[in-house]
């Protein structure tokens, strides 16, 4: 066993265990905090994949913004805890069977989509320039449509959130 594989095994097993813990929590705040730990582990997995910029974005955006927003709303509304975990007892065999079928198909489809190509962005190439710089170059040249879409995707919900949750003038 080499050291990278041991580290990957730790991160992978920890992510799976943490996501199991997340979906079975009764207390919402506890669930969010376990999710935080899970996201930190996932950003560790991104570091293995040479995506250091992405790992940091994961921490800043997911952990620093999205989860804080969620925890803020839970605390603001002062939501009471669910008193029992009857939800998970509704888990029937067909549901689990369906999910695992979906899982199998997912893995098979992704394996099939993998082409053993050597593109432009090899590990050495990414290491000489930095990850963030190359991502920026891709974003402003060949992938400019996703960038524009991202702007719209972020703009519309901002208006929606302000309209939905903002103070009503007639109240």
């Amino acid at each position: 066993m080499s050291i990278p594989i041991l580290f990957f095994a730790y991160f992978a097993i920890a992510s799976i265990v943490l996501s199991l813990i997340v979906v079975t929590r009764k207390n919402y705040i506890h669930a969010v905090l376990w999710t935080l730990l899970l996201f930190v582990h996932i950003s560790g997995i991104y570091l293995f994949l040479n995506a250091e910029f992405f790992a940091m974005i994961q921490m800043i955006v997911y952990a620093g913004a999205i989860l804080v927003m969620l925890i803020f709303v839970i605390m603001l509304l002062n939501v009471k805890h669910e008193d029992h975990l009857s939800d998970l007892s509704s888990l029937s065999i067909p549901k689990v069977f369906f999910v695992f079928c979906a899982l199998g198909i997912l893995v098979l489809a992704l394996q099939a989509s993998y082409l053993n190509t050597t593109g432009k962005f090899s590990i050495d190439f990414v290491n000489t320039f930095s990850d963030a710089k190359l991502l920026g170059q891709v974003f402003y040249s060949e992938a400019n449509l996703p960038l524009i879409i991202m702007g719209v995707v972020l703009f519309v919900p901002m208006i929606a959130a302000i309209v939905l949750a903002g103070k009503r003038s007639d109240e």
């Binding site: 800043i60 620093g64 804080v68 605390m75 930095s130």
Partner: protein
Amino acid sequence: MILSIIILIIEVAVVLGVLLLHVAYAVYFERKILGHIQARLGPTEVGPLGLFQPFADLIKLFFKEDNIPFGADKVLFTAAPVIVVTCVMTSFSVLPFAAGWVLANINVGLLFVLAMSSLGVYGIIIAGWSSNSKYAFLGALRSSAQIISYEIPMGIALLAVLIMTGSLNLSDIVYAQDKLPWGMFIFPQIIGFFVFLVCALAETNRTPFDLPEAETELVAGYLTEYSGFRWGLFFLAEYSAMYVMSSMLTICFLGGWTLPPFLTNLLPILNLVPGIIWFLLKVYVIMFFYIWVRGTVPRYRFDQLLKIGWKLLLPLSLTNLFIIMIIKKVFMP
């Protein structure tokens, strides 16, 4: 392999030790300077000029009763101070103190510091929530709103620095400033410097933005239920965060450990002074500014605080970004 790991551990220990000493004396400086601002003397009793006061405080904190309030979430209550301290201390691993004096010279150092400062919010939120106390809860709510709001102008102010350098590595940012004739990024982006300075005050919960722990309204905010050594850990984190923010200001706007080239050309003897001295000098000037502000400015109301963040600092930082984009395009192609 093993040897390099041992060397790394020794380096980390040295940095942590020096840092803790600095934090202890930051408290002493603050009390002294505040005292002189208010025409008092500050601590004088323990040791000559009160120089051993930090150690006396530390020993006192150690022997205080450690109290966990009734109905508190015990695990989270004990975890919160640890989270805050860990997040702040981890930031120091990427800060370059002098040429090559950095624990981890990673390519995304700037983002790492931002990520750690945004993770630090969780410690405060958990502390407020797990205390099972109204004051602590309100303090935590205020704090989370405040820190999220001020992170955005801070990030945009740093974005202008990124445009000037083209690198996220903190050492590269310093080297890029060294190439300029005036040696600092503060000159074209004075607005960005101002925005970052104000945001640094807000991110570290210092006056005039110390709403989360406003003594006169909320007892002590999220710290209300903490006592003894856990309270000391929060205190440690606050002062370390001041050092992180001062170092970031120094690295990103004031040229880090380098001096402006026109100064070194004028007086070549200044080149002999090691860079860490200039770095610490700049950091301590900003620390003095922090304490000066605390002695001078009254606290804002909460709605005023959010208004400043969203309606003043955010447009200012965007203006700065726009100006820097034009300067970069026109004058530094």
